[in-house]
C-alpha cells in the first residue's frame, strides 16, 4: 500500500451519540497502521459521484480499527447514517496532513460542535499533556467528553446556553488555561478567536479546515483555500493535501 489507498471496510460498530450525530467504527487494519491524528478519510456512498470527507477521530493500531464521528448535514451524511454494523463501505484513507506530533508540549485542544471529533486522535497521543476545551450548543449536543477524559486530558466543556458546563464561548473558557500549543477545529468565527488567543500567548497554533472536495488527494485542485506563503503572498493551497491541518499563521480566514 502507498501513502493511501481505497479499500472496502466493514463496519464493526455504529452508534448514534447525539441528535444527528453518529459514531462509526471500521475494521481497517492497514489504514489504522498508517493513520495520524488529524488526517481524514474519503467515504464512498453507493450511487453518489463524490465521496464525503470525514476526519479520523480514533485510531486503534492493535485493534485495527478507525473511528469516525460525523453529523448529518445533508443528503450524503444522511445516507451514511443509515449504515449498520456488518455493512461495508469503501474508504480512501489516510488522507492529508494531520496535527504536528510533539508529545511533550502542553497542548490546548479546542473544538466547537462537530469540530470536536478530529481532536480526539491528538488527545490520544498527548495523554495528560492535553487540555481539551470543547464547545457545544447545549447539554444535548455534548459529545466525546468522557472519551477525552479517559485519555487523560483535562477536559472542560462550554455550552452556548449554559445548560452544561461553562456558559459562554470556548475561547473564553480556554483563556483561563495554560498551554504551549493550540490545535483547533470548528466554525470559522471560533477559529479566528482561537488564533487571536494563540497569538496573544505567542504559542504555535494549528487549525483543521474544511472545504468541498472531489479527489481528496491533491489531483483535482477542487478544495482550494487561500493561504499566505513565507513572504506573505496570497496563494491557493489545498485542504486535502496541504491540510486539513494548517499552521494558523498561514491561513486566511474569510
Amino acid at each position: 500500500m502507498g501513502r493511501y489507498d481505497s479499500k472496502i471496510c466493514r463496519l464493526k460498530k455504529t452508534e448514534k451519540i447525539a441528535s444527528g450525530i453518529f459514531d462509526f467504527l471500521f475494521e481497517a487494519p492497514d489504514f489504522a497502521r498508517q493513520a495520524q491524528p488529524g488526517q481524514f478519510a474519503n467515504i464512498r456512498l453507493p450511487g453518489r459521484t463524490l465521496r464525503r470527507p470525514i476526519s479520523i477521530c480514533g485510531i486503534d493500531r492493535e485493534g485495527g480499527t478507525l473511528r469516525f464521528v460525523f453529523q448529518i448535514r445533508g443528503e450524503g451524511t444522511a445516507e451514511l447514517a443509515e449504515y449498520k454494523a456488518g455493512d461495508c463501505l469503501e474508504l480512501l484513507a489516510p488522507l492529508g496532513k494531520g496535527f504536528p506530533r510533539e508529545q511533550n508540549r502542553k497542548t490546548l485542544l479546542i473544538g466547537g460542535g462537530i469540530g470536536v471529533p478530529p481532536l480526539l486522535g491528538a488527545a490520544a497521543e498527548l495523554g495528560t499533556a492535553a487540555v481539551a476545551v470543547l464547545g457545544f450548543r447545549n447539554r444535548e449536543a455534548v459529545i466525546l467528553e468522557e472519551d477525552f477524559k479517559k485519555l487523560g486530558a483535562k477536559t472542560l466543556v462550554a455550552t452556548d446556553d449554559g445548560s452544561y458546563g461553562f456558559h459562554g464561548l470556548v475561547t473564553e473558557l480556554a483563556a483561563k488555561e495554560e498551554f504551549e500549543a493550540v490545535f483547533a477545529c470548528g466554525p470559522a468565527p471560533m477559529l479566528k478567536a482561537v488564533r487571536a488567543l494563540a497569538e496573544e500567548r505567542h504559542v504555535p497554533c494549528f487549525l483543521s479546515l474544511e472545504e468541498r472536495m472531489a479527489c481528496g488527494i491533491g489531483a483535482c485542485l477542487g478544495c482550494a483555500t487561500p493561504l499566505l506563503d513565507e513572504e506573505g503572498n496570497r496563494y491557493y493551497g489545498h485542504v486535502c493535501k496541504d491540510g486539513p491541518v494548517f499552521d494558523a499563521c498561514r491561513v486566511i480566514l474569510e
Partner: protein, 303 residues
Amino acid sequence: MANLKVTVAGVEFENPLIAASGTFGFGKEYSEFYPLSALGGVSCKGITIKERPGNPPPRVTEAPGGMLNAVGLQNPGVDHFIEYDLPWLSRQGTKIIANVAGNAPEDYCATVEKLNDTCVDMVELNISCPNVKQGGVQFGTTCEGVFGITSEVRKHCKKPLMVKLSPNVTDISEMAVAAESAGADAVSMINTLTGMRIDIHTKRPILHNNTGGFSGPALLPIALRMVWQTAGKIKIPIVGLGGISTWQDAVEMLLAGASALQIGTVLFTDPYAPLKICEGLSEYMDKNGVESLKELTGGMRPW
C-alpha cells in the same frame, strides 16, 4: 488478455483509457494506487503560458448524476510544468497529453512552442473550458473561433494536435469540422456542460465562480449523441469522454464512434475505475471475438 492498443493521430496508446485533463493533476497523486503505465495516457491539468491562481473556493460540488467544478485553470505555468512535472511523468511509461489553455491566441501559440521540444506525445487544445471569464470559451463556441485558434496553433505546434470541444453549442459537429479543416489531427469531446447550483440559505451560487462545468455519469448520453453526430462528419479520430464510468459505458462510447477514451469524474468516485474498465473491455473482447478495439469504433448500427 485481449489487445487493447489503440492509435490516435499516430500516437500508440497501450490501452484506450486516458485520464481526462484536470481530474488527474500531473499524475503523481494517482500513482499511489497503481503504476501510471496501467493507463493508456494522461491528459495533464490545463496548462497556460503563465502560472494561474484559479478561482476562489468553493470550486466543486456534487449534483445528481455528477458534479460541478469551477477550478478555473489553476496551474503552475508551462515552464514549471516542463521543468518540474514533466520529467517525473515522462518516466511512468504512459503517453502524455499536454492540455493547453489560454486567454489569447498568442498565449496558446507560445505555450505549444515551448512544448515542441519536450517529450510530450500530444497537445490537446482546451478551447472549451467554461470557467475562464475572458477568452477560453469564446474560441470554442463558433466555427470561426475554432477554426481561427486551431489554425494559429497548428502553425506553431509540431506535436500531434487534438482539439477538445465544448458541448455548450448548438451543433458540435460543425466545431469538429472546423477543427479538422484547420489542421487538427484529432478531436476530444466532450468538455463539461455549464451549470449552476444555488445555496437556498445564503441565496448565493454554491460555486464562487457562479457557474461551473457539469461532469460525471449523467453526461454520458449527451456525449454519446455528440460523438455519434460528429463521427459521420469528420475523418480524423475522436477521443470520446463525458461520464464514462463502467466498461459498458466505454463500449458504448467506442460504438458511437470514438477511437480512444478519456475518463475524469469517475476517478473521484473510484480511483481504480480505469483498471476495472480495462479488465471489462478485455473480457468483452475475448467473449465477442473482437481482436482490436478498432473493430468497435463506430460499430453502432442506427435504426
